[in-house]
Symmetry: C2
């Protein structure tokens, strides 16, 4: 434990003042935006920031703008005490926990959107989701002005969209994407995993299994996306508790679907278990180009 | 003339580098975004920045994103040589003149919008206009990171929208709005005035005349917006070359129409002369509350 003076702040004025002090001391700032209910995935981002920057800021804000009217905003799991204990233990410097009214005061009207990319895949299932994500991340970047911001590969489309936003709007921040953290059996960590029943939890392994099948097929020389997606789908269909939302194989940079695999592909999958919707993905590149 | 070393830069990298130098010297930065073809209105903003900040940056960029497909993007008047001579004479420090491709590289997809406010009045006549304005101003703010940015009251709705954008997205810049500059006879300066024929130029005085009538009525105690708008409209209707687009009396902060005048009102007017569309406005407050 290198520090024991983690500050927890809830107003924009207070966090800006604390950051001004850090910057006046010449410290570089790393930022990990979260919705709380932290798991090892989030903590790996915090550790990344602690390694690479002088001052690590974590925000905890369940952003209403990225939830649809029928989504789980109210039920989204929260545990502030535990979150703060975990962050204190790791040695985070500043934690920003604003109320909704601090981030979205009455009469709020301004939104940032990455057209096209925001409408694909997750955006199709969750209209307005990425507009909400871009808007809150933009606001947090302006408030915190970090050198580096950390996001998980788990939310692959989000990472692609935020990188695009940063490039298009000339934002002076580096987006660092760190690998998906998984349970021992392969399930990608997600705050929503707590919603799963025991049987659903077991069935949920079909996501990572189908991604591994896709990887094996590609390594074996399969180039036809349709064939790969069919093989993936079989592994979802055998799970009676699983209902496929989508499987897509896309270009890593612009999310355009690939009919034929070439170069590096991003394979995306989303599956429902009852009302719980889980996503996972894998970046796949054929290791040998001989076959 | 306090300086003779105005720098003209066309790439984002170059302007950022020049600004880094200014900031390392502890200089405050003022910014005047323009579309060029400078008139005394623009120059009053430049003078404002020269008075209030250490380093004045002017951008000249005819922003395609704020023109509709049927608007005058191609014909928008340009005169770079004259613009630069005027800015050099005033003593501007940095001029940023990017090409379209520098601001909107291929595959550009990100937009900033102020919902609701962007759809009223000018936005009704020019769909997408304010989204284009907000997006380019956001980009320019990120590139130039000024302490103060200067805009003219002439574009009243634009000023209200940009202030809202800055507040909503927590941007660290002050928006300073300076008064409309007018010809001796009262016509508000606009780069589009050059399009007017001699007869249209004379007829165009109906905008400022109608605003003055509104002011007189309000000072005389008239509180009914409908009556005021009717009197204003009469002055447009008598000009055979003029075709009214809209007259609105709105709240200065949120652009909500006022049925009854109270406090400070913003009176907006837009009139066509052939294909040329002119706008003007007046901020009116009853000077004595006795009547």
């Amino acid at each position: 434990m290198k520090k024991n003076s983690m500050e927890v702040l809830s107003t924009i004025t207070a966090i800006k003042k604390a950051l001004e002090k850090q910057k006046s001391l010449g410290r570089s700032v790393g930022f990990v935006p979260t919705m709380g209910y932290l798991h090892e995935g989030h903590l790996s981002l915090v550790k990344g920031s602690l390694r690479q920057t002088d001052c690590t800021v974590v925000s905890i804000f369940v952003n209403p703008a990225q939830f649809g009217p029928k989504e789980d905003l109210q039920e989204y799991p929260r545990d502030r005490e535990r979150d703060l204990a975990l962050l204190r233990e790791l040695g985070a410097d500043l934690v920003f926990i604003p109320e909704n009214r601090e981030m979205y005061p009455e009469g709020f009207k301004t939104y940032v959107e990455v057209t096209d990319l925001q409408d694909r895949f997750e955006g199709m299932s969750r209209p307005g989701h990425f507009r909400g994500v871009c808007t809150v991340v933009m606001k947090l970047f302006e408030i915190i002005t970090p050198e580096i911001a950390y996001f998980g590969q788990k939310d692959a489309q989000q990472a692609v969209i935020l990188k695009k936003m940063v490039r298009d709007l000339n934002l002076d921040v580096k987006i660092q994407v760190l690998p998906t953290v998984r349970e021992k059996d392969g399930l990608a960590l997600s705050s929503r995993n707590v919603y799963l029943s025991k049987d659903q939890r077991r069935a949920a392994l079909c996501l990572v299994k189908s991604l591994k099948v896709a990887d094996r097929l590609i390594q074996a020389g399969e180039k036809d996306s349709l064939i790969i997606k069919k093989e993936m789908k079989k592994l979802i269909d055998v799970e009676s508790l699983a209902r496929l939302d989508y499987i897509e194989i896309v270009d890593l940079d612009n999310l355009v679907p690939m009919d034929k695999i070439k170069g590096t592909a991003l394979i995306l999958i989303a599956v429902y278990f009852g009302k719980v919707r889980l996503i996972d993905n894998m970046v796949v590149k054929k290791r040998s180009e001989s076959s």
